[in-house]
Subunit: 389 residues, 2 copies
């Protein structure tokens, strides 16, 4: 049941301001009248709210379009350039960074290959370089950045410590958030990479319209994440999504069928082996097709467990192998039709290799909303981020 | 982001009224001052709200306690006797009914054994008799009843049609809500029985303090239900929880280990066979203990899949076999410790065989809250339920 103290007018104004910010972030520049209509406020109240938000620095007037006749109506937008967000994807073989404004619009992206076995200090240095390159590319400095949100492999505590990571040696037990905090003088967030990828699918990818989603992070490693009621599910100890750890789910080693297919020529690197098999299957090579069948046999067991348990609206196939969704989805659909009560909509990710880094940005935007644009605290001025977040 | 129209005072009064109803339902009789404090309202606003709610018939004054000195402060409570709710558990072998007031307090319970193979018309007649007996026991008639909420086995559409049911022949394809509507002139709700049992655990059972829960409905049949973020998860097509349908989850036939244990004497009915094995295991019979080990081996596979995927705070063991939780939980805990990243709290249900029928009442109470006590529609008078629900 809702609780609202009677007559608490400043709270009412606060809610009106949040409504206006929400509308302006979602819909881009709006006139006062358009904003009033969308926010369900009177025009005078809207004017009052917009004036206050401009004073606080959260809203700005846009430049009127050139060549319009007469005096054009003023249009207002959220000042997304008040600060910037950095997303990081720290994988076994690649480090990716992205720079975005406060609306989550991505302005620059960088990638740097690394070897899974490099020592910790080299990996940390590579992270710092990837971010520095991304900031330079976007014409910003770290002082402009409010939040660095990092995704990586493994079971990660809410405080950003890595409890367990099979893919990166020396990652298990690491206080990743602590190391990032030493590098970057801003708010640090750390989250499991599959959950960030699922977040990106929900915000701007294949699952935009769905509130119950199973996300399959398929690649040489297998990850999973679930969205329930529109929210990425972390679990009580932030360890959700680890069904691949159960041998009977047949997910953990499934990619071996693709990695070790006998048709793969000598000299193909392990990074390209599965892709070779998938391409050969697309060209109807019978040995490759048989390997794909065995891979999908395994993938379908764990996927069926998730689908039968959760009955999601959508299953999204994301991650490296999702580039071959045309090869993988038809046999997966056929198996799920046999095992599941209701077949969910099976979709391929549209975000490709950028899914984790994009999700890191979307996670930072959501964190910002939760911390700043909340009815539980007064709206701050848009000045020094250190004082706000 | 919250949206609230500025200066919409009648809406504010509505929210205040809902807050007051919520407090009075949760905390029993309260004085005006106590209610004002809990609701965060001024005393004059509280008086206004209470007067309005008394006029609408939702709140009543309680009789002052006898023998108090001086003039006692008036105390108010929610009028839970405005209407009544019936819960039904339509199982393969038993039909149970419960009668409760609008607070969900159970006033009468009845049970009637049935055979799983009786024809549909006999089963429907048995349902009607069980409800009639329960109403007579509680001194009410069907005209007093606002909602009949039924739980039964199977995959059930949101409209109350049974898509699939392995346990009751002739149940598959049945429009159960339609049949119940012909019997009872009130609102009809139909839901999967394991989900209702999980709801009861969350409202008044072993999972009262938890918002992420896996509920194992263990008995001759195996069911499961999950609670995410405090809500029983139905799934997009209302088919969630059916992981037992997957052979690799090793849940579907697990109970056979207990049902067919070689120590069970001739003449023990199938309904009592597993209970015999579990009792013998409690008395350290080695053959029974071995059967329990095999049962738990199977149970642990599907349970691990759920725990690894969801990372729940609590796993509740409910249903018929949960009477032997002392025998089952220690070996289950030992297996989950080996397979899971984080061991959830394992608890035995405290609701016993009444878990489904109790959950049906709790489901009806939640439906009532959602339909009547919502900020989205004006609060009705507490008169004819047909006009309200």
């Amino acid at each position: 049941m809702a609780t609202l103290r009677g007559g608490d007018l400043s709270r009412l104004r606060q809610l009106n301001a949040l409504t206006a910010i929400g509308m302006l972030r979602g819909a881009g520049p709006l006139t006062l009248s358009a904003l009033a209509e969308r926010a369900g406020l009177s025009r005078p109240s809207t004017k009052e709210v917009v004036d206050e938000l401009m004073e606080l620095g959260w809203v700005e007037e846009t430049t009127p379009a050139q060549g319009t006749l007469g005096r054009p109506a003023r249009r207002y937008r959220f000042r997304a350039s008040n600060g910037y967000l950095v997303g990081l994807d720290i994988g076994g073989h690649n480090i990716r960074a992205a720079l975005a404004d406060l609306n989550g619009e991505i302005l620059a992206e960088t990638r740097r290959p690394v070897h899974p076995d490099i020592p910790l200090d080299e990996r940390l240095a590579a992270i710092e370089q990837t971010v520095a390159g991304c900031l330079a590319l976007g014409g910003k400095t770290i002082a402009d950045v409010w939040i660095v949100a990092a995704g990586t492999i493994g079971v990660i505590t809410p405080e950003g410590r890595i409890l367990y990571c099979a893919a990166i040696p020396a990652w298990t037990g690491l206080d990743l958030a602590g190391h990032l905090r030493e590098m970057f003088p801003c708010e640090i967030l750390v989250e499991n990479d599959s959950r960030l990828a699922a977040k990106a699918e929900a915000v701007r990818g294949a699952a935009r319209d769905a509130s119950d989603v199973v996300f399959l992070h398929v690649g040489r490693r297998m990850g999973a994440a679930i969205i329930i009621d529109g929210k990425v599910h972390r679990g009580f100890g932030a360890a959700a999504g680890e069904i691949a750890m159960l041998p009977q789910a047949q997910l953990f080693d499934a990619s071996e069928h693709l990695q070790n297919c006998p048709i793969i020529p000598e000299g193909i690197s392990p990074a390209d082996a599965a892709g070779y098999t998938l391409a050969a299957a697309r060209a109807d090579d019978p040995v490759a097709l048989a390997a794909v069948e065995r891979y999908v046999d395994d993938l379908a067991v764990g996927t069926s467990a998730m689908v039968l348990l959760l009955d999601p609206q959508v299953v999204v196939l994301g991650g490296g192998f999702s580039r071959s969704a045309d090869v993988l989805l038809p046999p997966l659909r056929e198996r799920l039709e046999r095992t599941c009560i209701r077949l969910p909509d099976l979709r391929a990710s549209t975000l490709g290799d950028e899914c984790v880094v994009t999700g890191a940005i979307d996670y930072a935007v959501a964190h910002l909303d939760h911390q700043l644009f909340t009815p539980d605290a007064p709206l701050p001025t848009s000045g020094d981020p250190q004082k706000m977040i």
